[in-house]
Structures are given as C-alpha cells and as structure tokens.
C-alpha cells in the first residue's frame, strides 16, 4: 500500500513540476528562456493547422512575428499518442523526463491515453492531467487548439515529447521574422 502511495505521489509531484516548469508562467525552469504565453485569440488573427503523424509534423516549420498571437489547430492523424508543445529545446528536454514517467505508469499507452488514470484524484488535490497551456496531448483522431502569444524572440521549437519521438525527429522550428 505504501508503495502505491509512493508511486502516485511521485507522479503527482512530477506532473505538477511540469506544469510549473514548462508552463504558462514562463518561470524559466532555470534556463532563463521562455516560449511565450497563452492569450485570447484576436479577431482576424492567424490560424495555423498542424497535423501530427507517426512520428512527424506537417508542416515542420512556420514563421511568426514577435508578439504575434497564433491559433494552432492541431490534429492527430497518426495512430500513436502525440504531443504538440511550444518551448525551448531545454524546456522540451526537461519535459521529456516527465513524459517518460507518464509512459511508465500507464498514462500514455501507445495509441491511447488512460483518462481514468489522468483524472484520478491523487488524494492531495492533484491529478495527472496534462493541461499545460503551451501543449496539447492528443490521442489518434483527436484535435485541439492552442492560442499562443510569441512574446519574445528565441530558440523555440514545437515538439512531441512522448519518449523517443523528439529524438527521432518529431519537432519543428518556429522562425521569427
């Protein structure tokens, strides 16, 4: 019993760390860089459609202007779970460890997400929901949108941090012009 509590607590803690680290507040995660912030979509704003495949995005790069607010319509056209996460390479790297845990503990199961597990009350008010504003985690066939403001120029990538996917090349570049 104590062991299960240990595991659950560890997951809960690390997920909440994720939310802080790679999340909306741009706390920097010790790297001093941030990828922007969530925003409200302005009328006439730009929408970019991003398709997820196994294991790559289409398109693999897009251009933004500093301060631009973009709405991303993200659709998973693959047969595996994928993430769309806007961040710096360092943020992605940090997030990959957490995603590894989600796989190890059955939250991400190849082609599906264990929602029951994600939403389970961990007993301390925390859940395993992957609800950071800079990312979406999609099952095959799902689509979601993110509205994001690119506040500062920087080395920003969009990436899937499901274990192995980023390393295999499931990432794209955000180019400022």
């Amino acid at each position: 019993m104590s062991v299960s509590k240990f595991v659950v607590a560890a997951i809960a803690m690390s997920v909440s760390m994720t939310a802080l680290g790679a999340g909306s507040h741009g706390s920097g995660h010790g790297h001093g860089a941030k990828s922007g912030e969530p925003a409200k979509f302005p009328e006439g704003g730009r929408t970019i459609t991003v398709e997820m495949h196994d294991n790559y995005y289409e398109p693999e790069a897009f251009d933004v202007k500093k301060g631009e607010i973009v709405r991303f319509m993200v659709e998973n056209k693959g047969s595996l779970v994928h993430e769309f996460n806007i961040g710096t390479p360092a943020m992605h790297e940090a997030h990959q460890d957490e995603m590894m845990m989600m796989v190890e503990h059955g939250v991400i199961q190849g082609g599906k997400l264990n929602h029951k597990m994600m939403e389970m009350d961990m007993g301390n008010g925390k859940t395993m929901k992957h609800d950071d504003p800079n990312s979406v985690l999609l099952e095959p066939g799902e689509s979601k949108e993110i509205v994001w403001k690119f506040t500062d120029k920087g080395d920003i990538e969009f990436a899937c941090n499901v274990p192995g996917h980023y390393q295999a090349g499931m990432y794209g570049d955000v180019n400022f012009n």
Binding site: V3, G106, N114, A168
Partner: protein, 600 residues
Amino acid sequence: MKTTLLSGALALLLPVISLAGEYDLTVDRVEIDTGDFVKEGIGYNGASPGPVLRFKEGEDVTINVTNNLDEMTSIHWHGLILPFNQDGVPGISFAGIQPGETFTYKFPITQAGTYWFHSHSGFQEPDGAYGAIVIEPEGREPFRYNREYVVQLTDKHPHSGDRIMRNLKMMPDYYNREQQTVGEFFSDVSENGLMNTVKDRMAWGGMRMMKADVEDLQGFTGLINGKGPDQNWTGIFKPGERIRLRFINSSAMTYFDIRIPGLEMTVVQADGNNVQPVSVDEFRIGVAETYDVIVRPRDDKAYTIFAESMGRSGYARATLAPEEGMEGSVPELRESARLTMADMGGMHGMDHGSMEGMDHSQMAGMDHSAMKDMDHSNMEDMDHSNMEGMDHSQMAGMDHSAMKGMDHSNMEGMDHSNMAAGGASDPFYAPGSGLVPTAANGGKFLSYADLKAQSPLYEDREPTRDIELRLTGNMERYTWSINGVKYEDADPIRLQYGERVRFKFVNETMMTHPMHLHGMWSMLDVGAGQWNPVKHTISVQPGTTVFMETEVDEPGQWAFHCHLSYHAAAGMFRKVIVEGGPESTKAAVSAQTTGVGGDA
C-alpha cells in the same frame, strides 16, 4: 495534402510505369586485411564487404550475379519478401550458381529499410561474402536525419569456415580462451568461500557444462564496414546533425553490445521495420539482426562506436568525427560473461520434474519497463507483495526532486537492488541469467520488450495453429538440432497458405540462437498485441521460451534456421513448405511440379 494525392495517384499508376533497376555483382576471391591479419576470403565486386545495394520501394530489381569462384555460390537477400525461387538458398530456392555462371535475380521491392545479403553456400558468408541493402521508402521516413551510414559488423577469423567447423567438431572448446582457470577458482574462493566455490564447480562439472560457454568462436577481429579496430572506420558529421546509423550484424557467430559513449541512441528500426522510437545507451545486436538508430552529436569532437562481443572476448570499433583522423578514447573490454544455472533451465538431460509448474508463456508480460498495458485505475487494490519481480530499470528518468514530503517509512520491502545496475533483468533472459546485459554507463539497455511496431503490418488476429520448436543440441559433440533432430534427418515443416502460425521456441541449450525464417515476417511476441515488432531474426536466450507469429502469405519453400553459421551447418536448420496459395499460384505450381516431386 497535395503531395499525398499525387503520390497516391503515382501508386495507382505503378503497374504501368514501375521503377526498374539493374545491378551487377561478381563473386570473387578477395584479400581481407583486418589490421591484425591478412586473409584470403570471398567478396563481391572485388571487396569484402560487398557494395551497399540501394533500392527503392516499388522498384523491380534485376541483379546479375556472376560466379568467379571455382565452387558453387548463391546470394540470399536477408529479410527481403520475394518469390521463393529468388531467395537464393541452394537446394531450397534454386540449384545454386555454378562456377563461371551468371544467374539473374528478378524480384519486386515491396518494403523499405535496412537489410543485407550474403552467400548461403558452405561457409562463404563467414569467409567474407556479405554486403548491405538499403531500401528507400516510397513515402517519407517517419523520422528525420541529416545523413546516414551503414555500420556493418562482422567477426573475421584467421581460420577459414571449413577449418573452424572441423575444429569445433573435434574440440568444442577449441576457440574458447575465456574458460575458468585455477586463478578464477581462488578469486571465487575469496569472494564466495571455499565450500560454495567447490560446490559450484562440482555442479557445473557434474553437468559437464561450462559457465564460460558463451561464445563458440573467439579469436576474431571485429570489423566495421570491413575495417578492424586499428583501421578505424570513420563517419563524418557536422556538430548538431542527426545521423542515422544502420547497424547490421553480419557475423558468423558473434553478438555485439553496441554503445557510443557520450551519445544517446534512438532506435527507430529493427530488422528493416520501423519501431516506436526508444532512446537507449546501449543495445545488443544478435547475429543477422539490424537496428537503425538516430544519434545527434552536438560537440565538435570524435565519438567512438564501441561494439563489444557478448562474451567480451573481442570488439569492433569505429568513429564518428567532424573530420577524418580524429579519434575518441576506446573503452576497455568488460569482464567476460559467465552463464548461471538459470541459463541451464531448459537443459536437456536435467531434471525437468520441478519445472512443470513454470509458465514461461507469460514472460513477455512480466516486463514492467514499458508498463503500458498495466491498468492503474484500481491502484488501491494492488497487491505489491510480490514486488521483487518488478523491473525498475527504467526508473532512471524519475524526478525525485519533489519527494521531500513523501513518507518513506514503509519502503524497506522494496527491492532496489537492480536500480543502480541499470536493470539487470530482462524478460527475454532467464531470471538470474548471467547473460542479461547492462549498460556500461549504468543507463538504459535496449530489451526486446521495448520494441513496438511503429505501425502494424498485419491486422491482428488469433493464430490458427501453434508449432513448438525446441532448440536442442549437445555442446560436447557440437551437434545442433531442432526438436532433437538434425536437418539431415528432418522432415520439412509444412504450413498452409493463409494460416497464422504461432511458433513457440523453447531453448533447451546453453547457447543463444538467432532464429531466422526466410520469406515471411516473424512477429515477436513482446506482449504488445498488434504492436508486436516485426522481425526476420529472433534471438532466443538460453533457458527461455519465446513466441513469434507468422502470417503464412508466401507460397513455396523456405529455409528456417539458427543464423550462427556453425550451428546451422551442424543441423539447426529446417525446410518450411508453404502449401496452397492463390489459385493462379496453385495452378502454376502443380503444373510445374509434375514429374519433379515435392520433398516429402
């Protein structure tokens, strides 16, 4: 979207305007210089290894093979799905290629990935007759890289294949120079005590088995792309680039543990079929297997590709560097491997009485390293009383930084003994096996259990038939067999077209056997259902039972054997006949075989 439509249209047009390529290969006597010794051998187009054949999925290839030897030859296209009479096994696919003759292979390329080719005649393959095949897919690769290299390994021995076979038959430990000595006895005594050491030696001596019997063939020089460790094959990169390395193990007998100190390797393909990417620090490549990995060297320095043999008697070495001539440090060989009693679990002649209760069939499911299939929804009710069996090998990635508030008071019962070792357990090895690999840096070592197909090749369905194949042998006689019967005395295995056969390999020997079925895919049961990886060669470790499923979708007759050259030659080999098939095929076969007769 547009391009997808376009390529779709192209695919429809394929029957009319299919790609076609013609290739020429000569089979020649060549000189092989390993840096340690120079040896006459056999090669292709004047060299060993032969050229890298680059095909494109959808292409119809024509390959003219000219035999310049004074003996018969053949070429088998290892891992390619093709009509059986193009498979290149003398006596099974065709009659072989006579000296001076040119044989023309013609077959469609229906797959993509990394494969290889080799002679299937005598010991020409260990003598140097092998090369690589790279097939570009019709669509895009599901991963990205800036450049790629074939990294083809072999275990070149100063003796010819015929001589090695004869020596092994004469003295099975002829090449074993890692045997237990008086010195090891005394070091074991100081570690484990006199009585325990004597008991241990008596137990092994009683079985007449050697703990050191990990590699039949030592004394080789490991080559990468034909270059010995001192000749140092070098692949060039620019820092920050992603490099795809296509590892192929073309060894006669040697399993290699491969690492690139300083680089994480993301495995994206195994045996030519894409797998869900998994990042590792080290992996073991069985004889005849292939693994494609992506690495990303970021620093402006040389990285050593270090491939240590499983028994630690030798190694191959190459370098990735920003420019030619740079060298990274070359690690020391680790301590030689020793079998344990666990590896003898399936041994013939041992008392099996107590083993009936052991169910190996569930072993694939035991690995918790990729705990995808576990339902945690009822965690309160979970019984952790048996947690010893849990594999914590993957826990390196756990973030313990937020653990302060946790109650550790009840943790005594947890067995963390394997955590530091980086996972000294693997469901594809006998529990307690002495062969379980661990990463040199304490990190992640690839397990078969980590391999999941990137996309299922076939619709998942129940197997229609089970076939048990016991892998058997007698080390002292150097005889190797299946179900106790050598090839010379065996009837063919008959499969029906359209079946899905579940093969059960039970390894009753103390050696590892890489089992290779020609012509049809082997879906290795790792407990992932339709995501089970699709392979052409499956390693079965001592004392273990491994399952694979095959969709019987290719008519004709095929070879099925252990890919260790001297095990196959000693009898661990079968012919598989696929009976029936599409109507047109059936008619053609029956018309053609009149008067020829099957191999009953």
